[in-house]
């Protein structure tokens, strides 16, 4: 089916499958359509349907509350039933050649293990090599759970066939309940994946200091950024500061990896664990002498530590929406950081 997307600056025309969302068809055609979460929550991919008919399998999608007109749709949810024409509110361009379009793939859950209270690390083996940029995510859909969920890749390597993710248990989270309720039974289960997605990416060509501020499972994408930067020797030239926020000392994870990373690059890499609900434990301080520990909300701890240096760095944010909002406010209002020096993908 032919789909026309008219943006403020120009129109685009591409072939779309009725089995795929307008967003996926457009991204695959190399068009940088507006999106962030790709899972129906953020509302960024809003478009106005001018002609044609679409299927909307999830009319209760939270992102729909951002729609204004009856004929407005979320491109990440809707697939075409006929040729159609939509308008997006803004400018759109062809994607750069370096951006990999998302692909569908099948995968099998190979491992799943608790690494902290309410945090599970799991690995998926994919049927095709999965190329992505550090900081990107994939959507995962499993039989029995309605709708795909988005998770950032923790590992980074070219042509990876094994992808690592972390997930936090949420009381009413469909996928997280499904996984947590019977961890052992989930190993061997087949899943559908779409990716890579996400624009909060790190390339060494960035050539500037980096700051990562993450809370809870938001640390996932930062691990891929750290991995890539270390593999490339990036911290021999530039500085990296990672701030990882958790509630209590017992909630922290990946600390062995962080400790090793700082041991390798002691001059230019700093990792600070911020605990919001209690002072960091002495046991933790003693066990990880290379890491810094601070009590407080992670974005406040980060700002106290880096202050005006944030203005010249590239800052990556990930975590629960209140953390991302708080960090944005602090960076823009207090540290006067330009928005084009902040990268994050919205998931609220």
């Amino acid at each position: 089916m032919r789909v026309v997307v008219n943006a403020r600056n120009r129109g685009f025309e591409f072939e779309a499958s009725p089995d795929e969302s307008l967003l996926m068809s457009g991204l695959k055609a190399g068009i940088a359509l507006p999106y962030e979460c790709a899972t129906g929550t953020c509302g960024t991919c809003r478009a106005t349907l001018l002609e044609g008919n679409i299927n909307d399998p999830w009319p209760e999608a939270p992102g729909r509350k951002l729609l204004k007109e009856a004929r407005d749709v979320l491109m990440c949810q809707c697939s075409p039933k006929s040729d159609c024409r939509v308008e997006v509110p803004g400018y759109a361009y062809h994607a750069d050649a370096s951006i990999r379009p998302p692909q569908q793939s099948r995968g099998v859950i190979r491992t799943a293990a608790m690494i902290a209270p309410d945090i599970v690390s799991f690995e998926i083996e994919t049927d095709v090599a999965f190329n992505f940029d550090a900081g990107q995510f994939a959507t995962i859909e499993t039989p029995g759970v309605e709708g795909p969920r988005a998770y950032s890749m923790v590992n980074y390597e070219r042509g990876a066939k094994r992808l690592e993710f972390v997930i936090k248990r949420k009381p009413d989270g469909g996928f997280s309940e499904w996984l947590f309720s019977a961890l052992d039974l989930r190993v061997g289960v087949e899943v559908n994946m779409v990716g890579p997605l996400g624009k909060a990416i790190f390339h060494p060509a960035l050539s500037s200091n980096i700051v990562c501020i993450a809370g809870g499972s938001g640390i996932a994408g930062m691990m891929a950024i750290l991995r890539r930067a270390m593999d490339e020797g990036y911290f021999k030239q530039f500085r990296g500061d990672i701030f990882f926020g958790v509630r209590r000392s017992a909630d922290a994870f990946f600390l062995d990896q962080f400790n090793e990373a700082v041991e390798k690059f002691p001059n230019n890499l700093g990792v600070t664990i911020a605990t919001s609900d209690e002072a960091p434990s002495t046991a933790l301080r003693n066990k990880y002498p290379r890491l810094q520990f601070s009590e407080g909300f992670v974005h406040q701890v980060a700002l106290q530590n880096i202050g005006s240096k944030a203005a010249t760095a590239m800052t990556y944010l990930a975590g629960p929406p209140p953390l991302v909002d708080g960090a944005l406010r602090a960076l823009i209002m207090e540290a006067k950081v330009r928005p084009d020096r902040i990268r994050y993908d919205k998931f609220n």
């Binding site: 129109g11 509302g43 951002l66 509110p89 062809h94 928005p339």
Partner: protein
């Protein structure tokens, strides 16, 4: 233009902002160091409420995708792709009044011209209403007028016979189109302009504008320089593959 009462000064926190409803339109009133500013209360990008954003006394940031504007004049900063509609503000006895700026003040090619000249340009034209689906002009016809959008939405279509090429649209108050009329030779329309929503536009005969610029050449030169920017932008768009 009439002044409209919005609120009492003290209803807006000092060094803060607050949104008000005015006949179904959201208006944002901002206060900073004894100055009061007013703008549209809705982000022109994804239509979120700007009162939920950030304001540091000079720069307003939408929390959704971090578009920023200078609240003094609505100029786009950084990531913002379009300016923000701002209002003239007057404060009398703690009462805040706003006055809508003329659409020519918002129009990029006329910005910086004296207000009396803008008034003359406006009076040389006339406001015309179009209904949804109606064409303002067809491709290939002689370009006689320049148009400035007041309300509604207009899209541009090139018909290549075997296929139709969509070439963007205008949606913001003060956006200009149909500028081929300002070319020296008898230029024709490169695309058909159709209203995708009922629209109100200011239609100014190119001839009247030319006469005015012959009379005030400095203004003519300024507008011509601005037109170059517009032309280059459209060429860049064509290069990036209007197929």
């Amino acid at each position: 233009m009439t002044k409209t009462f919005i609120c009492k000064t003290q209803e807006v926190p000092e060094n803060g902002m607050r949104g008000f409803d005015l006949n179904g339109k959201r208006i944002l009133i901002l206060r900073s160091n004894n100055q009061v500013f007013a703008s549209d209360g809705i982000c022109p990008h994804q239509e979120v409420l700007l009162e939920e954003g950030l304001f540091d006394g000079k720069v307003l940031t939408c929390h959704s995708h971090l578009w920023q504007w200078n609240v003094c004049n609505g100029d786009a900063i950084g990531l913002a792709e379009t300016p923000l509609d701002t209002y003239q503000v007057s404060v009398v006895d703690d009462s805040v009044y706003i006055e809508q700026r003329s659409i020519l003040e918002l129009c990029a090619i006329f910005s910086g011209l004296a207000l009396d000249l803008l008034a003359r340009i406006e009076s040389a034209g006339q406001y015309v209403n179009f209904s949804a689906g109606e064409a303002i002009y067809d491709e290939g016809v002689l370009a006689k007028d320049i148009y400035i959008l007041d309300t509604g939405r207009v899209e541009f279509i090139v018909d290549r016979g075997d296929r139709i090429i969509y070439s963007g649209y205008v949606h913001n108050r003060g956006e200009m189109f149909g500028w081929a009329t300002l070319m020296e030779s008898n230029a024709t329309r490169l695309a058909k302009a159709t209203c995708t929503e009922a629209a109100r536009v200011l239609k100014i005969p190119g001839e009247s504008l030319q006469q005015l610029f012959d009379e005030v050449p400095t203004a003519g030169l300024l507008v011509t320089r601005r037109l170059w920017i517009e032309a280059v932008r459209q060429l860049a768009g064509a290069k990036h593959g209007n197929q």
